[in-house]
Symmetry: C2
C-alpha cells in the first residue's frame, strides 16, 4: 500500500538524548509537555512530535495515552512517599513534625505540578486513573492512620470518632489544597499561606490547640533542611 517508503534511520538532533530508550523518551517528553499544557489538550500526536517517536512505537510501549500519565504519577508519588517516610516515626515536637510533613507535600506538588494536576483533572475521564489516584491517596491515609494511632494524645482527643475517616479527610483536604495551589488559585498559591492553613488544620483536629505560629517564634533549632 505505501507508495514510496523513504525510511530514514530517524536522525535526531544531537542535543537530545538520542540513544535513550524510546520508552523513556515518551515518558519524559510527556512530563515536559505537562509542565505547560493540560493533559486533556495533549494529543498523542503532540507527544509523538515532542518525543520524536512514531505512532507505532508509542503504542508498542503503552496501551494508551492515560497509561503514560499513570506511570508518571506512580513515579512521582513513590518519590513522595519516600520523602514522607521519616514523617511517621517523627519523635520530635508533633506540631513541628506535622508542619514538616505538610511542607514536604507542598514541595512534592511543586516539583511535580504538571503530572499531579494532570491526574487530578483526568480522573473524571478515565476509570483507571481514578482508581490509581484513589489508591495513592489510600497510601497516604494509611500513613496518617498509623501516625494517629501511635499518638495517645491524638487518640484521646478524637474519642470515639472514626480514625480512618479523620485521617482520610485530612489527606483529601491536602490533595485539594495542593492542587489549588498548583493551579495558582489564591490564596493557596502562596506557599506560606498554604502550609500554615494545612498545618493548622492538622493540629487543630488532632490536638485541639491552635497552631503555634512558627514564623513568630524564631527558635534556633528550626528544622534542618536543605536551602530553601
Amino acid at each position: 500500500m505505501p507508495s514510496k517508503p523513504g525510511a530514514q534511520p530517524a536522525r535526531r538532533s544531537a542535543a537530545e538524548p538520542a540513544s535513550t530508550g524510546l520508552r523513556e523518551r515518551i515518558l519524559s517528553a510527556t512530563r515536559e509537555l505537562l509542565r505547560e499544557r493540560r493533559f486533556d489538550t495533549l494529543s498523542v500526536a503532540d507527544i509523538l512530535t515532542a518525543a520524536e517517536v512514531s505512532r507505532a512505537s508509542f503504542y508498542f510501549y503503552f496501551p494508551s495515552r492515560q497509561a503514560v500519565l499513570g506511570e508518571l504519577v506512580r513515579d512521582a508519588v513513590a518519590q513522595g512517599q519516600q520523602a514522607a517516610a521519616p514523617w511517621i516515626g517523627g519523635s520530635q515536637d508533633p506540631v513541628a513534625a506535622l508542619r514538616a510533613g505538610v511542607r514536604d507535600g507542598a514541595r512534592l506538588w511543586r516539583d511535580n505540578a504538571g503530572v499531579l494536576m494532570a491526574i487530578v483533572e483526568s480522573q473524571g475521564s478515565d476509570e483507571g486513573l481514578r482508581a490509581l489516584w484513589l489508591e495513592q491517596m489510600n497510601l497516604f491515609t494509611d500513613a496518617a492512620v498509623a501516625r494517629i494511632e501511635s499518638d495517645p494524645q491524638a487518640r484521646r482527643r478524637l474519642g470515639d470518632m472514626d480514625v480512618r475517616a479523620v485521617a482520610a479527610s485530612l489527606t483529601w483536604m491536602g490533595e485539594r489544597l495542593y492542587y489549588l495551589a498548583a493551579a495558582g488559585v489564591p490564596p493557596f498559591d502562596d506557599e506560606e499561606v498554604l502550609v500554615d492553613v494545612l498545618t493548622n488544620a492538622w493540629v487543630s483536629i488532632l490536638y485541639g490547640r491552635p497552631v503555634t505560629p512558627p514564623s513568630r517564634i524564631p527558635r534556633a533549632e528550626q528544622r534542618k533542611d536543605a536551602a530553601d
Copy 2:
C-alpha cells in the same frame, strides 16, 4: 442534496411531557442520564435520544454539551445557597449551627449527586466549567468568611491567620468529602461519618474544642427540620 425527506411531525409517547419546551427536555434528560452515567461517557447523541430532540434543536438552545451541565450546576447550587442562607445568621449554639449546615450540604449533594459529580469530574476538560466551579466555591467561601468574621470567638482563635484561606480550606474540604461520598468512596459513603468528620473539622479549627457528639446527647430541642 437530501435524497428523500420523509419528515414526520415527531410524534412522542403520550406518557412523556410532550408539550414541554425542548430546552427543558434537554436539561432534565441530561440530569436524568447523569443519575446513572458519568458525564464523559455521555455523548450528545445520547442526550438527543433521551430527550427526543434533534441535533439541530440541541445546538439551537445550547452552544455545547458542557453548557448544559453548566446550567444544571448553576441551578443546583443556587438551590443549595438558598438552603444554606439561614446558616449564616445562625444565633443558636454554634456547633449545632455548623452541624446543620454540614448536613444541608450533604443533602444537597445527595439530591444532586449526578450533576455535582459531573462538574467536579469535568473541570479538567473544560475551562468554562472549571471557572464556574471555582466561582461557586468562592460563593461558599464568602459565606464562610462572613460567618467567621462575625464570630468573635472564632476570630480570636484564628489569631493572625488568613481568615479567607481558612474559610476556603474548609469549603474545599467539604467539596472533596461530599464528592467522595457521592462517588461511594468509603468511609464517606456513610452520611453519619461524613457529617461527623466534617463538623468536627469546622469546630476544631474554628473553636478548638472537640466536637460535642450530638448522637450521645439526645437533647429535645435538636434542630427543626423536615422529615429525614
